[in-house]
Symmetry: C2
């Protein structure tokens, strides 16, 4: 499951299948209009996809009754027999699982509470493989074709190695091959912010043109960067772990070991930790605070608690500085703020905007539209499962070609 450069045909094929997953069943003409392809090309592409058994034509009977003139459309969609794919997200003390069919439709999902950090490399992979296996079985999926796993940290998607992750507690872990051997299936791994960024851009067409930087605020702070709808890949990892950029030299402690990282102000664990301190409560034991705990902090701040308001003020300022850096460095067309952290956007906004304005000129700021997309962590599994599906599409094509 490596991403080499794609041939012209493979790109067209991918665009077609992507569009079908996003839009649902479409007739050939519709696909052509949607992608700006000639009917001839669509015919050619779909012919081989039908031939390979990846797509099937919808029964004419299924269609809306004949209120139209002309030859009726025959909609195409993914065959039901292609098997399914599991998407996984590993958080600090939580694993999210999702099962989708080849069309990307949700079949089952679940999350379990399970701390992972304390396990060693082998035990960690054993637990993950076991968890994935049980989930698939209990969901009645006998036909899992691939697995996609997203986690925070420096994830080398190409070689399948997690160089460092705050949630796994290991270094240079060959997670893709380790899980792949245990499960007997190809495993794709990805940074979680990239996975979420991909899921969000799949849902919003305007974000798939130009350059889109998605800042995910939640458990940590991550960055997913896309150019023309495709994830930007850096030298190995992709523009990720932006949360560990140090913005304040002597700022609060971050779990990466440093001080003053973006995350140490903005992430749920940081806000929760500081709020507990303000309330003179004991330090939290759970690394990943619950949505209820975070909600109550936000409510108290909205009710006017001055110390908590200050907390969000400082966080908003850091967010503004972070977006300023993104704008000055990547100059994106779109900036997306996403993840659970956007729940408090009303509290962050004043200081966020002030900080952003104080470090960018209007001409530059005007280039990037800032979108706040309320999104929960289950978009992560959606993103990574989509990517696994796309890799599977490619593998199938190459299998037939060989």
């Amino acid at each position: 499951m490596t991403a080499i450069s794609l041939s012209s045909r493979e790109t067209a094929r991918r665009r077609l299948l992507d569009a079908l997953r996003r839009e649902g069943p479409m007739a050939r003409v519709e696909i052509g209009q949607h992608l700006g392809m000639s009917p001839a090309s669509v015919s050619e592409l779909t012919a081989s996809l039908l031939d390979e058994g990846i797509l099937v034509a919808e029964d004419a009977a299924d269609q809306a009754a004949g209120l139209f003139r002309g030859r009726p459309k025959t909609r195409l969609f993914f065959a039901e027999t292609l098997g399914s794919v599991v998407g996984v997200w590993t958080g600090f003390n939580r694993i999210e699982l999702r099962l989708v069919d080849s069309a990307g439709r949700n079949r089952a999902s679940r999350h379990i509470e399970r701390p992972l950090r304390s396990l060693g490399a082998e035990a960690l992979m054993d637990v993950l493989a076991e968890t994935i296996g049980v989930f698939a079985q209990e969901s009645g999926a006998m036909d899992v074709k691939a697995v996609g796993l997203a986690c925070q940290g420096y994830v080398d998607t190409k070689d399948g190695i997690v160089a460092w992750s705050p949630v796994l507690g290991t270094r240079d872990l060959p997670l893709a091959s380790g899980l792949g051997e245990r499960l007997g299936r190809p495993v794709l791994i990805e940074n979680d912010a990239s996975a979420m960024a991909f899921a969000i851009t799949q849902r919003h067409a305007e974000l798939r043109s130009g350059r889109t930087a998605c800042l995910m605020v939640g458990d940590g702070v991550g960055l997913g960067f896309l150019i023309q709808g495709e994830l930007y890949r850096g030298a190995r990892f992709g523009g990720s772990e932006f949360g560990h950029v140090r913005l304040r030299r002597s700022g609060p402690q971050c779990r990466c070991g440093g001080r003053g990282c973006i995350e140490a102000y903005l992430a749920d664990y940081a806000l929760h930790r500081d709020a507990q301190l303000i309330d003179h409560r004991p330090a939290p034991t759970l690394l990943l605070p619950s949505e209820e705990a975070m909600g109550s902090i936000v409510d108290q701040a909205r009710a006017g608690d001055p110390a908590l308001i200050n907390l969000f003020h400082a966080a908003g300022e850091v967010l503004g500085d972070a977006v300023g850096i993104l704008i000055q460095t990547l100059e994106p067309d779109h900036i997306v703020l996403c993840g659970p952290g956007t729940r408090a956007m009303d509290l962050l906004r004043p200081s966020f905007e002030a900080a952003l304005e104080s470090q960018t000129i209007p001409e530059l700021r005007a280039l990037a539209t800032i979108h706040v997309v309320e999104s929960s962590m289950d978009l992560l599994t959606e993103g990574v499962v989509m990517q696994a599906l796309r890799e599977l599409d490619l593998d199938l094509a190459r299998l037939k070609a060989a």
Copy 2:
């Protein structure tokens, strides 16, 4: 002179001409080996280039005497009759000019002292047009086909507008069209750091693969980012003016109006200003300190002046933080530190490396090779003139096609 997406043929043509400018005259076989093209394709491409009069075959007589067997190579190179191109860089109180022929060879260069900031938009463009015209005439160039101009600031290359520049003192200046009308020739404008980055990557083959981030330290601090040897273009400007990222909330004054920008620590004007202050000398009147003035500051620091050593220590720390941000955001394969500011790299290095190490994990740091390229400001005119030549190549191709 707009950069639209290139056709397959145009890309091949550009690669061929780029290679000839870099490597000098080459025979068709050599071009093929160099670019990984089949002889048939090279033959086809060169046939039309010869036909259009852009290339000519070298005289057989010019070649080395026949110590070789087989049919002798006929080297191809740019026709002498194609005209020349002027490259310009505008600094605070200085204009650098360069005249090159169509092969990119230097024909003449000059720099004049002339402050620009105090002029209005029209007067500024009058002065520039006049200066360029006189330079071309006095260099005996009757055949200037295009002009490339690089300057610091937010430069929209596509629309030819300078949104803001610390050296020009105007806003949203339509410089390309304004100069173009005055000179009667197409004018390409570019951010100066991008121009230098392009020049440097043209000289070093290894920097043309993967992602290369060039941080230019000198008059200001700029960033040029290239992917596979082509300049990254953001929404409008390109990943530029990185020097105005604010790294220290309450840092020293920057000429952009903000405080604590990277530039306010690292740029020549900032170091010079602070050194003057330490020596209890009057504030400098010249905005761009001379190379001698900078050299004397560096010498004093090397001789052990503790206050100046501190100055460079703080600058190095900011440089380390800046490179850390670049690594975490763009994850480049290569980082190039260039520009006159590298003259003091020995003084910057200890704090630079400490700061970089304190905010990046080793796995991530190991991905990017850091190159220090000693380069003076005259590489700027080389970079922008090369880009103007490439645009001219394209225009010629499109002219023939139409």
